[in-house]
């Protein structure tokens, strides 16, 4: 069933091909190469950025783990005193690493973890996965293989053969492992080799042997138990440290292992950052920044976030989706050549070909822009390429400025909305971002209620928020915010003044208190009425007025800067908006596609004969559709004879006219054959299977119409 095809060596393609693939379809409009290069460099930048983020996020965790490991074997080193008193206790130091359900991301975490440990703590690290260790023997084999290989890596590759042989020869037992460990550590101790100095200085005197169980839940309990019991016997000779990767909750250790075994472990719990926070950071650093010219449209972002939230919680998959967006955008949009850093923009705009200019003129957002111009300018834009290029450059720079301003204002708005009760505009900044991208946010009901709630904020909250906003604007790269910062600072000082004024007003309040002393009923009533009157007529307090002012100012900022991107001219160049493609590729529904094809072949085969309304199917449909439709009406088992008969009647009804042309016998045979094909195709698709329950029956594998 396998066939290898090898081209003759001279004909092999050169590595230029990826670019060619990019070009092949778009041979009409050039720039493919440039686009590809831009795409690749952008992706590489984003990739390294995400890796950096991941590293930063995990740093804390790894530091903690590292210190734990150091500590755990420090006891081992102080053999003389402490260890002797612990002779009897055979506890294995264990780190339970709770990583969350996003199993997909764990691999990366473990890889960087083992890298960090290898660099800082110990060369002896074994990464074990459940799928490699169905039994204790396999586990030991794997463990020893990894440990001894890593020993080779540290030492040198000279005596590889020797070790290769010995690895096969050595019986995989704890004793041999201990012997190996002793010899290794002794060697490092006795030798004072120059080549090893660097590594041994970083590593400790007798480095611990770290065994990482990547997916602790999927290990069979017996294997785990055996391994723990065995190694606890030898913990005195071998400084073993276990790390359990846990996807669910630390309780799993106790439910997997009986008390007698889990008491052999000295467990310390480590919690990694939740993937939701990770994602927030990623979105923050990748999307809410003007650093990258490429942007995601609202629907696309929604799709990616939905896949994350409803399917896997995997940041890796989110980034993969992001990569796909980039590729798809640069591949399908010829104008994406302009989706570059501002520095390169001028050159690229100037080198645009006439075709590309036409492409720009065809953009809906550009057409809207043209229509809004005066007629002479319209003509110039539509006819003169050079003028067009100037305008494009200006517009794209505007777009860049828009992004620069958009982000700080968005963050500022988020500061306000995220502290309101019930979060009308969402708790996370990504939700706010989506809302702003979708349409004019200030026209939505949620925004209205946000403003109303903001008008009821108390002073201290308001002041802290304003301070945060000031920080955001100060740190932002936007140039227009000097005034804003000033204005906000002015608000802050006004609040400060208010506070002073408030203290003064306390005096006047005390005069009111005077009233209370006179306890004459008539007077009291009178004064109270007066007070009430004055309060009703009294204008808002200064604080309230100021609060209104602040909210109005924020509102004006929002209206100014948070215009949805698709209202901007030339947004098509930098925004990727075809969410359907993305969903089709990442979150496909193969079963739905099958059912649609079977139920309504017209969706795919555009033939009028197949056109039908509703879910029904015409008898002219392909054979498999008819057979499928017939089988839907059956229960658990289907009699093949009945099915065949029904099928042949349906088919005969269509082919009636031809029936008498050929001898009926032969037609029958052909229909029979077609039926056989349809049935075996349905079997291949998994709708039916042969059944032994009754002769000539097949069993249905689906239920009802689904």
């Amino acid at each position: 069933g396998c066939f290898v095809f090898k081209p003759s060596p001279k004909k092999r393609r050169v590595s230029q091909k990826t670019v060619n693939d990019f070009r092949e379809r778009n041979n009409d409009s050039g720039d493919a190469e440039l686009r590809f290069v831009t795409c690749q460099s952008l992706w590489n930048k984003i990739k390294s950025e995400t890796e950096q983020i991941q590293e930063d996020l995990n740093k804390q965790l790894f530091d903690n783990l590292g210190s734990f490991l150091r500590q755990s074997h420090s006891e081992f080193q102080e053999k003389t005193t402490k260890w002797t008193c612990r002779m009897k206790s055979r506890e294995i130091p264990t780190a339970a690493l709770v990583l969350g359900v996003n199993v997909t991301d764990h691999d990366l975490t473990f890889r960087s973890l083992s890298e960090v440990l290898q660099n800082n703590i110990t060369p002896y690290i074994a990464l074990l996965e459940a799928k490699d260790c169905p039994g204790i023997k396999n586990l030991m084999q794997k463990l020893m293989g990894q440990l001894m290989n890593c020993y080779i890596d540290v030492e040198s590759l000279e005596d590889e053969d020797y070790v290769q042989v010995s690895q096969n020869r050595i019986r995989c037992s704890m004793t041999s492992l201990i012997n190996w460990y002793k010899s290794v550590t002794k060697k490092t101790d006795s030798e004072t080799p120059s080549k090893k100095r660097t590594s041994s200085s970083r590593h400790l005197q007798s480095p611990p042997v770290v065994v990482i169980f990547k997916d602790m839940e999927s290990f069979s309990t017996k294997v785990l138990q055996d391994f723990i019991v065995i190694s606890s016997q030898h913990i005195r000779e071998l400084p073993l440290v276990l790390i359990f990767g846990i996807a669910t909750s630390p309780m799993i250790i106790h439910s997997l292992l009986p008390h007698s075994v889990s008491s052999l472990l000295c467990i310390e719990l480590f919690q990694s950052l939740s993937s939701k926070e990770h994602l927030s950071t990623i979105i923050d650093k990748l999307l809410l920044t003007a650093q990258f010219p490429f942007k995601l449209g609202e629907k696309v972002l929604q799709v990616l976030i939905n896949i994350f939230l409803y399917h896997d919680f995997s940041v890796q998959n989110f980034i993969k989706g992001f990569q796909l967006c980039i590729v798809e955008h640069f591949y399908s949009q010829p104008l994406s050549v302009l989706c570059c850093q501002l520095v390169d923009l001028k050159k690229r705009v100037n080198s645009l070909s006439h075709d590309q200019c036409e492409n720009i003129r065809r953009l809906p957002s550009f057409r809207r822009y043209v229509e809004s111009q005066v007629s002479e300018k319209q003509i110039a834009l539509l006819t003169a390429d050079s003028f067009l290029k100037e305008t494009i450059q200006k517009l794209l720079e505007d777009l860049h400025v828009y992004h620069e301003n958009y982000v700080p204002v968005l963050r500022c708005l988020h500061v306000f909305t995220s502290s309101l009760p019930k979060y009308p505009l969402g708790k996370q900044i990504r939700e706010l971002h989506c809302a702003c991208l979708e349409n004019r946010v200030w026209e939505t009901k949620e925004y209205e209620s946000c403003l109303q709630l903001a008008r009821m904020l108390n002073k201290s909250d308001l002041v802290t928020m304003l301070q945060q906003c000031v920080e955001i604007f100060v740190s932002s790269s936007g140039k227009e915010f000097d005034k804003t910062v000033e204005k906000l600072k002015e608000f802050l000082t006004q609040f400060q003044k208010l506070e002073e004024a408030f203290q003064e007003r306390d005096v006047s309040v005390s005069s009111q208190k005077e009233l209370q002393k006179k306890t004459d009923l008539y007077h009291l009533q009178k004064t109270l009425l007066e007070l009430k009157e004055s309060r009703r007529s009294k204008k808002l307090t200064k604080f309230e007025m100021l609060r209104f002012e602040v909210v109005d100012y924020i509102d004006s900022l929002v209206r100014n800067y948070l215009v949805p991107a698709d209202h901007k001219t030339l947004h098509e160049i930098v925004y990727f908006n075809t969410a359907s493609v993305l969903r089709g590729h990442l979150n496909a529904a193969p079963r739905t596609a099958l059912h649609t094809a079977l139920n309504n072949p017209y969706c795919y085969l555009k033939n009028q004969a197949l056109k039908s309304d509703g879910g029904s199917i015409s008898n002219k449909a392909p054979d498999i559709c008819i057979a499928y439709k017939l089988h839907l009406e059956c229960g658990r088992l289907i009699n093949l004879v009945d099915w065949l008969e029904a099928f042949s009647t349906v088919v005969m009804a269509v082919e009636g006219p031809n029936a008498d042309a050929v001898s009926s016998d032969q037609v029958d045979d052909i229909i029979h054959a077609r039926f056989i094909r349809a049935v075996s195709e349905l079997e291949l698709l998994g709708f039916i299977k042969p059944s032994k329950q009754k002769t000539d029956h097949v069993a249905r594998l689906t239920w009802g119409g689904c």
Binding site: S612, G614, E645, R677
Partner: protein
């Protein structure tokens, strides 16, 4: 066989149709009379209908592809269909989908149907009231399932009822009471009630339905078998030839569809190179598409084609072809995991290595196992191995958990081609295709021809005995002692040792199977189906 119920079936269908047509005119009275007439007439005539004709008609009745007018001439229907189908059928085809949808979906249509049905039931009551009260009461109580089975044209369901009816009418004729056979258990819950209820109700009802249908081990389908059919089982070759004769429907549209997919080839290449792997899904064989992809794009690069549908494919053979042919490595590996490790190592070392892997039917029986998928996933995660695969099974995505999915790094492409699964199904051991049969027959004759005359006699004895007992479902096989006795009587052996020696020879050629019964006695049987055995004996008789 008296096919009474079939005609009733037909009537309800036709009545429904009538009613809808005459809805505006609303002369149901006349309709009812006509219908009664039809019914009676049909009852009388169809009683004499030959089985062959009746059965060939039944499907079209159930599927309501006939014009309403035909209902009055039930007996002529079959011949009419055969002789002048153009008249009655052709105009109806275009209408038929609309009609069925109306009956199925519009509630007004439904209520109409139900009312007519009720009328019909009462009418039936009039006819049969003295003889089959229980059944009709049953029917009246739950008219909907009946309607359901007709309007949604359930093939075997109606057949099943048909069978029952034959029995029942028989009992009626013989003047007995109808057996109080409960039908309720087999009838599904009325579906139009579901439609009215809210969704959750629908769900719970669906659940109930499911368990109702799966609770009883009894299966209510007709007992007809293919053997009774005039047509013989086709073998693979004739099937292939026959299908070649049959023109592929909608060839132009399918071609257009495929061209759409072919335009994506360069995009696939791009995405493969960027680290994604591609999986194709959708109805229709993707074999040709992938083959075209291979020939048009991959000519100049090393690639591996895996026919997953091939019944003896294993991961090991895939790995072997990579190590032996792509990497030119001679030597064996202890386990697939070792082999995988070797491949990974080689690909990491040598950056000039590149391999395209095309897997037809990644979800085939042989490859869908957890371990094979794991290995393939790991293989595909290598940066310079580009995997493009197709899946067909409806539950194929269940093969992969999150970990495997991330290793595969799929990009999904819907490529519905509507191409027939020629290659993929040719290895399938279908019920309808006599594949192993012909093979077994030739091997039987082949082996036996090389044996002595006595040995052939021994085998004949066993075969004959097995055929005599073919209707006995609990036939365990021929016990050794009895067999020995018979062989002795036929002067074929003189001691049980000789017999045992012969049997060993048979067993070595997998001609017989021995099974120890509960009493410890050895039972012998031939693991070949009865029809093949009959053919074999006939052939033997010719030879002798």
């Amino acid at each position: 066989g008296i096919k009474v119920r079939k005609d009733k079936t037909h009537l309800t269908v036709s009545v429904k149709r009538f009613v809808k047509k005459l809805e505006n005119i609303s002369d149901d009275e006349a309709q009812e009379i006509l219908e009664e007439k039809n019914y009676v007439a049909a009852l009388g005539i169809c009683a004499q209908d030959p089985v062959g004709n009746g059965s060939s008609v039944s499907g079209s009745e159930v599927y309501s592809f006939q014009t309403p007018k035909c209902s009055s001439k039930m007996a002529e229907l079959a011949s009419e269909l055969a002789q002048t189908p153009g008249q009655s059928v052709a105009p109806d085809n275009s209408e038929c989908p609309e009609k069925t949808t109306k009956t199925l979906q519009s509630s007004s249509g439904r209520s109409w149907c139900r009312s007519t049905l009720a009328r019909e039931c009462t009418f039936k009551k009039k006819e049969f009231v003295s003889t089959t009260p229980y059944r009709l009461r049953k029917r009246l109580a739950a008219p909907d399932p009946y309607l359901e089975s007709e309007s949604e044209y359930s093939a075997s369901c109606s057949e099943e009822e048909d069978e029952e009816d034959q029995k029942e009418v028989g009992t009626v004729l013989s003047g007995r009471k109808t057996p109080a056979k409960t039908k309720a258990a087999s009838t599904p819950l009325p579906r139009n009630i579901l439609a009215k209820k809210i969704k959750e109700d629908k769900m719970s009802n669906l659940v109930e339905e499911y368990f109702e249908a799966h609770s009883s081990s009894k299966v209510l389908t007709s007992d007809r078998t293919l053997q009774k059919l005039r047509k013989k089982r086709l073998n693979q070759q004739t099937l292939h030839d026959l299908l070649k004769k049959a023109p592929l429907a909608y060839a132009a549209e399918i071609k257009e569809l495929n061209q759409q997919h072919e335009s994506l080839f360069s995009k696939w290449m791009l995405q493969l190179h960027l680290g994604f792997n591609i999986v194709l899904y959708g109805l229709g064989s993707k074999h040709d598409l992938l083959e075209k992809f291979r020939t048009s794009v991959l000519q100049d690069s090393v690639h591996l084609v895996v026919n997953g549908y091939f019944p003896s494919i294993t991961v090991r053979s895939i790995l072997n072809s990579i190590t032996e042919e792509v990497l030119d490595h001679i030597g064996t590996f202890r386990s697939p995991l070792d082999q995988l490790e070797f491949i990974i190592k080689r690909f990491k070392e040598d950056s000039s290595l590149e391999l395209y892997v095309l897997i037809h039917n990644l979800d085939s029986q042989m490859l869908r196992g957890e371990r094979s998928q794991q290995i393939l996933a790991q293989l595909s995660s290598l940066p310079r191995i580009y995997l493009i695969a197709s899946i067909d099974h409806i539950n194929a995505p269940l093969m992969w958990d999150q970990a495997k999915l991330s290793l595969y790094n799929w990009l999904w492409y819907e490529t519905t081609t509507f191409n027939p699964y020629v290659e993929e199904t040719s290895y399938e051991n279908s019920l309808l295709v006599q594949q192993s049969g012909s093979l077994a027959l030739s091997s039987l004759t082949h082996v036996l021809r090389s044996l002595t005359l006595n040995a052939r006699g021994i085998f004949r004895l066993l075969a004959q005995y097995q055929l005599e007992n073919k209707d006995n479902p609990s036939y365990p096989g021929l016990s050794f002692q009895d067999f020995y006795q018979q062989c002795r009587e036929a002067f074929l052996v003189n001691s049980d040792l000789t017999l045992r020696a012969q049997l060993t020879e048979f067993r070595d050629h997998k001609l017989i199977r021995t099974k120890r019964g509960a009493d410890g006695v050895e039972y012998l049987s031939i693991p070949v189906d009865d029809s093949t055995l009959t053919d074999f004996l006939e052939k033997e008789d010719e030879d002798v």
